[in-house]
Amino acid sequence: MRVLTVRLAFAALVAGGVVTCALNAQQAPAPELTVQDLRDGLKNPTRWLTYSGNYANHRHSPLTQITPENVHRLTAQWQFQTDTLGKFEAAPLVFDGVIYVTGPLDTGWAIDARSGRQIWRYRRDLPAGLIACCGLVNRGFGILGDRLFKTTLDAHVVAISRKTGALEWDTAMAPYRNGYSGTTAPLVVKDKVLVGVAGAEYGVRGFIDAYDVQSGKQVWRFYTTAGPDDPGHGTWRGTDTKAWEHGGGSIWVPGAYDPDLNLVYWGTGNAGPDYNGAEREGDNLYTASIVALDADTGKLRWHYQFTPHDIWDWDSTQMPVLADLTLNGEPRKVVLFANRNGFFYVLDRATGKLIRGKPFIETTWAKEIRPDGRPMLLPNIVPSEEGTKVCPDQTGGTNWMPPSFDSTRGLFFVTARESCGMFFSWKDDYNPGDGFRGGAVQRLGDRPYSALRAIDVATGERRWEYRYASQSWAGVLSTDSGLVFAGGSGNLMAFDARSGKNLWHFQTGSALYAGAITYMIDGRQHVLMPSGTTLTAFALADFRD
């Protein structure tokens, strides 16, 4: 009997091997996902490999199948529901016909991009006592080779198998019980995974970390509050001599990468305590700034601070958008940055020098940005015990929702928010893991609104706007065919990039806290929108080649 079993097993093994060989002979090899693929961004239109589509954060696709003329025929193809609480704030990634997306409460999925059917599901067992001020969310995977990378709510960074969702390595970044958490999508650069931590509302000391993609070992760390040995430490003055140790500067959306300069660019979070700067006099570098770091070493090359001595909770955690422009007849390599403080900045991305700063919403805190790069402050803007009205409010002129940049048309599309707040301030003592805001903001009676705005990057002037019915948190996507996808009140909407005319909409049934992406599959362009806990894929109803 035992001999028979062994023989059968051997026969099965041989037969299986033959079948496998035969199958392999018929099948194309699985495509690999390389560092060069990440650098190529959206050159391959079947893919979406980084948070904003390419390292420059353009969120602008070269696809042209869906046009202003035919977008009215866009119809839902499938929906995927997470069966979780919470909401999507993630940018889905697409590679080789599979969507990889993270969800709330540290979940993630691989989904068939043709049908919306789940392939695998990832879920992290989270510890009790999580501290996360602003949503138990995640903003997406990073991807390279056969691995996906993500940050976690308990302030770890993990690698999981792209094929199975199984955990491959798991590295702690910081103690979650002290208010550290991870929500940013990673930025994968060469052989490193770049991430950071959220938690400025709990007095964390923010940082940007690089981890080895293979081992998960930390390669470098850049602290976003300048310590005693760092240049800029003198910008932390005042009665709290340890203010820099709990000074905020969190990192909760990904940065950009310029392979030619080998620099990564990252926007940093607000200073802490949020609304009381009395004990942290000075500019408080490098909070509310953009930092340019050497991608290999994490060394600071330059910085530009958007809001020196931030006391309004204006994180600069928006997308740095890299662009090559001709300004005043000169070719310039720039960073475009629509900041939460209400100004739209153009910076030289090799030096960090200000080229232009102009408001893109109504602001009452600064009259203008001076040629030396510092804001010219207006009076009566400091949060107080009695309350001080300042515009924008602490949710800002824009926020984490990613913008898009159409380099052909020279237009930057951003979800802009018009709102003012009454800023209160009081003394707060730092206690690890406790809230550390030093004040709060009160809603004002006037009704705030938001709008999709197109900014001409050559001049900084507004070209057009579309006003939403309510405050929108939606990101933006644009395409070469002249469309802009954005939305509000649960509506995914398509606009004419030249005029801002609304051409199409679909009520998804839940508020939008992310941006759409687009990809080709089987010759059809799809637009994929996360809303609530649902992904909806759209394509033209009756498209034929």
Partner: protein, 271 residues
């Protein structure tokens, strides 16, 4: 079998060790269902300080809501001390309202914060005047068409069954006399004119860029596509008429206020 038992015991021990303290069985005395610190001046002061540090960031410095909801009307909405304690202790799954870790926040802290919040929503105890029985008659004659009290009345305006526990007399007075200026979301007055020329008044229940949902003055829930409307006007004035002295004399007003101030919901609802 013994090995299995040992394994289960070890697993259970590990599970308990990893369980959060709030998941562990409570020992000793039962937690009170009503706030033992309500009205305690020191507790209110401490609770106010804790509210600023731990709650105001989301709920606003005046607890009237910002990123998080308005907390000044939670008792008015029928919540009990016991339930609110649980919300703070356990959090609301899937939201930014995370559980209050017992290692950081003890029961007394929570009661103190609730004692403070209660002061923001409590009705000031001005000496009651007026005749409640006549006030009820005035109410039945003028208000029941639009307002429910204890299951009787119309639906166009807010349910007033617990209005006395959440709205001070001065607030009720300004609403009645038409000097309030604020309209609760979901009851903003709107006028529509359809393509067919029909003029419809009602209160706005929801709206987006392309549609609006209302309850019209006949209590009919209706949705409209904006593309099918000739006019859409958000009225500044509430649908509720202003009851000036010519419509409601001071004595009847006083009686009505006495009646409304006494509306605290049924016992079951309060529990």
């Amino acid at each position: 079998m013994r090995r299995l038992t040992c394994t289960l015991l070890v697993a259970a021990t590990v599970a308990i060790a990893h369980a959060s303290p709030q998941d562990r069985p409570t020992r000793g005395e039962q937690r009170p269902t009503r706030n033992p610190l309500e009205g305690n001046a020191q507790a209110i002061s401490n609770g106010g300080a804790m509210f600023r540090t731990r709650c105001a960031g989301c709920h606003g410095p005046d607890a009237r809501g910002y990123v998080g909801p308005d907390l000044t009307g939670v008792w008015l909405a029928g919540n009990t001390d016991d339930h609110l304690f649980d919300v703070v202790r356990r959090g609301i799954p899937g939201t930014e309202m995370t559980p209050a870790d017992p290692l950081r926040v003890n029961d007394r802290d929570i009661w103190q914060v609730l004692a403070y919040l209660r002061t923001l929503s409590a009705v000031t105890s001005a000496p009651p005047t007026g005749d409640a029985a006549n006030g009820e008659r005035v109410f039945r004659a003028n208000c029941t068409r639009c307002h429910v009290v204890n299951g009787r009345g119309g639906q166009l305006g807010p349910d007033l069954s617990r209005i006395g526990s959440g709205r001070p007399r001065a607030g009720l007075l300004s609403k009645l006399r038409g000097t309030s200026g604020t309209i609760r979301p979901g009851y903003e007055s709107v006028t529509l004119v359809t393509k067919e020329g029909e003029r419809i008044r009602g209160v706005r229940k929801n709206e987006d860029e392309f549609s609006i949902q209302i309850m019209d003055t006949r209590e009919r829930l209706q949705g409209f596509l904006k593309a099918n409307l000739n006019e859409l006007t958000m009225d500044k004035q509430s649908l509720m008429p202003a009851y000036g002295p010519e419509r409601l004399n001071d004595r009847d007003l006083d009686d009505l206020l006495r009646y409304l101030s006494g509306l605290r919901g049924s016992e079951a609802a309060r529990r």
